[in-house]
C-alpha cells in the first residue's frame, strides 16, 4: 500500500423504486490516472457520479478517499473531502463573471469585512486559468464566452478547490474536435499533478486518446474494472451492451431520386451566409463543421424558427422566406433539434402526447380529439422507433436519454415528413440507441425520404452520409461525395485557415 487510491468505492448499492441503480459497485481510481467510466444510459454511471458528488446517498457500501473512509451527505461535504465534479449540464451563472463563477460559494472577502474582494478574486482566477493555458479576462461575464471556454472555466472552478478526484461528466459533448483536443491537453496536465480523474463519455474513440484505465458498467454493476486503455473497442462495446454489436453503420442501398429540398442562397444574418444545396429523395447529407460554424443556425433558419433570407422549397412548396415551423411541417419538412430538453420535448407530457404534438389535426374530428387515433399514431411510431416503455402514457421525462431522443424523432415522423433535419441526433445517447438511430436513418432513406444530419462526430458523419457538406464561419466550405470524404479532408475544410493543422 505505497500509494492508496485517490478514491476507492467498495460495495456501493443504491435502489430507486423499481430500479437497482447500483448493485455492489467496486471501483478504484489512482492518483494521476484518467479513469474512464463506460456504460450505456441506465448502466449506473450517473448514479455513481451522484453518490461521489454527495447528491445521492447510497444504501450500502463505503467510499475511501486517500485511504480514509468518508461520508458524503451533501455536495459541499464531497468538495470538502476532495471530490470536485463538473456536470454534463454546465452549472455556471451566465451573468456573473468568470472569476465570480470560479469562486462561487467560496468568495474571497476583504479582510475583516463582509465585502467582496473583486480584485483578489480576479487575480487568483487569472492565475488559475493561466495554469490551464486559458487566457481570458476574468471579469468577462460567462454569457459572452463560448461553450468550450465555459467548460474550461468550470474545470478551473473545480480545480480551485484542490481536489484529489476530479469527475468530468461528458465534458466534450458540446465541443468540436479541436476544442476537445485542447481540453485533453489540460486533462493530461491535471493528471500530471496527481489528481485522479474520473472521465465519463459516450465517445468511445476518446478512450485511446485520454484514458489510462477503463471500467465498464452495465445494469448497475461493474462488468470489468480497471481494463487497460488499449483494450480493443469492439471488446469494450461487447462488455457494455452484453452482446456482439456487428455493424455500427448499416449498409445503405437507397436509390437517389428527385430533389425534395432545394436551398438557394439561404442567409441568416450574422451566422449563415449564402448557403445553397439540393437534397434528394433517398439521400442522406451530413453537415460537418466546428461548433459555431452555423450548422444549427442553418437548420433553424430553414425550418422557420429564426428569420432567414434566400429561398428554400420542399416538394415545390416555398418554406423560406417567411417561414414558420407550421409551414415547414405542412410542406413535410421536420426538425429534430440538438437540445432535446430545451427544444424537443414537453417533459410533463406523456410519450403519446409528445409524439402526436405536430399531428393533432389528423387525430381530430369535428374539433374533438379522438383518443383512439392518438393512441394508434403514438403506438405506430413508438414501435417504429423502438421506444422502450411499458405504454404510451408514460411521462416522457421518465425515459432515458436515448429513448427521449427516439420520441423526438418519432414526433418528426408522425408529422408525415418527407425531409428530416437531424441536429446532433446521437448526442448523449447510449451506444445501443445510437445504432438504432443509424439504422432508422438508413431505413428512412430506403423509404425514399431525405435526411440531413448535422454532427460533430466525424465517424458518424462519414458512416451515414452519401454526401458531406462542410461549414465554416457560416458558409459551405466544401462538398464531398462519399468516396472523397476522408477525416483529413473534412477537418481541413472545417478548421479556420490559420489553424489548419489536421
Amino acid at each position: 500500500m505505497t500509494e492508496p487510491a485517490a478514491v476507492r468505492v467498495s460495495g456501493v448499492s443504491k435502489r430507486y423504486p423499481g430500479v437497482q441503480a447500483l448493485d455492489g459497485v467496486d471501483v478504484e481510481v489512482l492518483p494521476g490516472e484518467v479513469h474512464v467510466l463506460l456504460g450505456e444510459n441506465g448502466a449506473g454511471k450517473s448514479t455513481l457520479v451522484k453518490v461521489l458528488s454527495g447528491a445521492v446517498q447510497p444504501d450500502a457500501g463505503t467510499i475511501r478517499i486517500a485511504g480514509e473512509t468518508v461520508v458524503l451527505p451533501n455536495p459541499h461535504a464531497a468538495q470538502q473531502a476532495g471530490i470536485s465534479t463538473v456536470h454534463q449540464e454546465l452549472s455556471l451563472v451566465p451573468d456573473l463573471t468568470a472569476a465570480q463563477n470560479i469562486f462561487l460559494g467560496r468568495e474571497l472577502l476583504r479582510p475583516g469585512t463582509p465585502l467582496l474582494s473583486r480584485g483578489e478574486m480576479e487575480r487568483e482566477a487569472r492565475k488559475l486559468m493561466a495554469s490551464l493555458k486559458l487566457n481570458i479576462d476574468p471579469s468577462t461575464p460567462v454569457r459572452r464566452l463560448s461553450l468550450a471556454v465555459r467548460q474550461v472555466v468550470e474545470i478551473v472552478g473545480a480545480l480551485a478547490q484542490n481536489p484529489r478526484v476530479l469527475i468530468l461528466d461528458e465534458p466534450t459533448s458540446s465541443l468540436s474536435e479541436q476544442e476537445t483536443e485542447e481540453l485533453f491537453d489540460r486533462i493530461r496536465q491535471i493528471r500530471a499533478e496527481g489528481v485522479g480523474v474520473i472521465y465519463i463519455s459516450h465517445r468511445l474513440e476518446e478512450i485511446e486518446r485520454i484514458a489510462d484505465r477503463v471500467t465498464v458498467m452495465r445494469d448497475g454493476r461493474v462488468v470489468e474494472a480497471g481494463l487497460p486503455a488499449t483494450t480493443p473497442l469492439a471488446a469494450l462495446v461487447r462488455l457494455m451492451v452484453g452482446r456482439d454489436v456487428s455493424e455500427e453503420f448499416p449498409a445503405r442501398d437507397a436509390t437517389i431520386g428527385e430533389a425534395l429540398l432545394t436551398v438557394e442562397g439561404l442567409t441568416v444574418p450574422g451566422v449563415v451566409d449564402d448557403v445553397s444545396f439540393t437534397l434528394r429523395s433517398g439521400e442522406v447529407i451530413g453537415i460537418f463543421g466546428l461548433v459555431g460554424a452555423g450548422r444549427t443556425e442553418l437548420l433553424r433558419g430553414l425550418y422557420g424558427l429564426d428569420k432567414a433570407d434566400g429561398r428554400a422549397q420542399v416538394n415545390g412548396r416555398q418554406i423560406v422566406p417567411n417561414g414558420s415551423p407550421r409551414r415547414s411541417l405542412d410542406a413535410k419538412l421536420a426538425l429534430v433539434p440538438e437540445d432535446r430538453h430545451a427544444w424537443g420535448l414537453v417533459l410533463p407530457m406523456s410519450i403519446r402526447e409528445n409524439i402526436c404534438l405536430s399531428a393533432l389535426n389528423e387525430c381530430t374530428s369535428h374539433g374533438a380529439l379522438l383518443p383512439s387515433r392518438l393512441e394508434a399514431l403514438a403506438q405506430r411510431f413508438m414501435q417504429a422507433m423502438r421506444v422502450k416503455a411499458p405504454d404510451t402514457r408514460v411521462p416522457v421525462g421518465n425515459l432515458s436519454g436515448g429513448n427521449q431522443q427516439k420520441v423526438v424523432i418519432a414526433r418528426a415522423l408522425a408529422a408525415g415528413s418527407d425531409v428530416i433535419l437531424l441536429d446532433e441526433p446521437t448526442r448523449g445517447v447510449d451506444i445501443g440507441a445510437k445504432i438504432e438511430i443509424y439504422q432508422l436513418i438508413a431505413q428512412l432513406a430506403a423509404e425514399g425520404k431525405a435526411v440531413l444530419v448535422v454532427s460533430s462526430d466525424l465517424p458518424e458523419v462519414l458512416g451515414l452520409s452519401d454526401r458531406v457538406l462542410v461549414m465554416r464561419q457560416g458558409r459551405i466550405n466544401g462538398e464531398f461525395p462519399k468516396e472523397d470524404a476522408t477525416p483529413e479532408a473534412l477537418l481541413r475544410a472545417a478548421l479556420p485557415v490559420e489553424g489548419a493543422v489536421a
Binding site: 415551423p325 427544444w343 420535448l345 414537453v346 407530457m349 404534438l357 374533438a368 414526433r411
Partner: protein, 321 residues
Amino acid sequence: MTALRSVRSRLDSIQWETAGLPVALVALFIFFAVQAPNFAETSNFSNVARQVAVLGLIATAQTVVILTAGIDLSVGSTVALASVLTATGLRDGNPLLGIALALGAGLLVGLVNGLIIGYTAVTPFIVTLGMLSIVSGTALTLTNGDPIFQLPDSWFFQLGIGFVGPVPVPVIVSAVVFVLFYLLITRTKFGTYVYAVGGNQQAAQLAGIPVARVKLSVYLLSGLTAALGGVILTARVRSGQPLLGQGLELESVAAVVIGGTSLFGGRGRLVGTIYGVLLVGIVRNGLDLLGVSTFIQRIVIGAATIGAVLLTVLREGGRKH
C-alpha cells in the same frame, strides 16, 4: 386483522395526487358538521355553492391561464368594470345591452393582455398587474367612484338570486362554463396546446404550435369569464359596484394552486381547481357559522394555500436545497 391490512394497503395504493384533496374536503366537512350548527343543512349547502360559484367560474379560467405558465391578475378589476357596465345598461332599462357591454369589456381586457403577452416578451405578471390598475381605474372613473344603486326591477336579478329547483342559478352557470372548459382542455387540440405551451414553450413552437395565438386565446377566455362573473355578482348585489371583485385575482390563484396546478405551467387539472374552490368555500362558511371573524378567515385561507402547495412539493420529494 387481514381486513385491516387490506384497508391499509388499499389506502397506500390510492394516489394522494387525486385522493388527497377530496379526503381533506370530507374531513373538513365532518369537522364543521360536528362543530357548527346548521352547517349540514340543505339550505346551507346551496348557500355555500352560491358563495363560491363566481370564484369557481373565475378560477376555472385562471387554471387554463396558469397551465400556459401565465397568470391573470386583472380578473378582479374586470369583475368591477363588468358590474359597472351591466348596471349602466340596467339603469336604462336594457339588461341585455348591459350584459353585452360587460362581456365586450371583458374580451377587450383579455385582448390587450393576450396581445402583449402573446406577441412580446413582457411577462404575464407585469402585463396583467398593469391591467388590474388600468381596468380598476376605468371602472372608478366611469362612476366617479360611486356605486350605481336603485336599479329598476328586471328578470336580470334572477341570474344572481334565482333557483332552478334547489340549485341556485349562479351555480348552474358556473357548472355549464366548467363543463365547456373541461371539454376544451381534455377533448380538443387546443387543450393539448395549452399544456404544451406551459410545459415547454420552445418545444411547442418547434412542434408547429401557434404559441402566441394559444396565449391570446387563454387571456380572452379569462377576460370573458371574469366579465360573466361580474354580471352574476351584479345581479346578486343589485347594484353596479366599481370595487366589486377586489381580491378575486389572488383568491382564484389560491384555489388553482390548492387544486394542485403548478404555477410554472404544464402541470395540473381542472378538477383539482373545483376542490380548491370548495375548500375555500367550506372553510369560509364553516368559520362563519362558528362565528370566527372574516379577518381570521383570511389568515386560515392563506395558511391553507401555503400548506396545500407545501404538501404537493413534499410529496414529490422536492426541496429547494
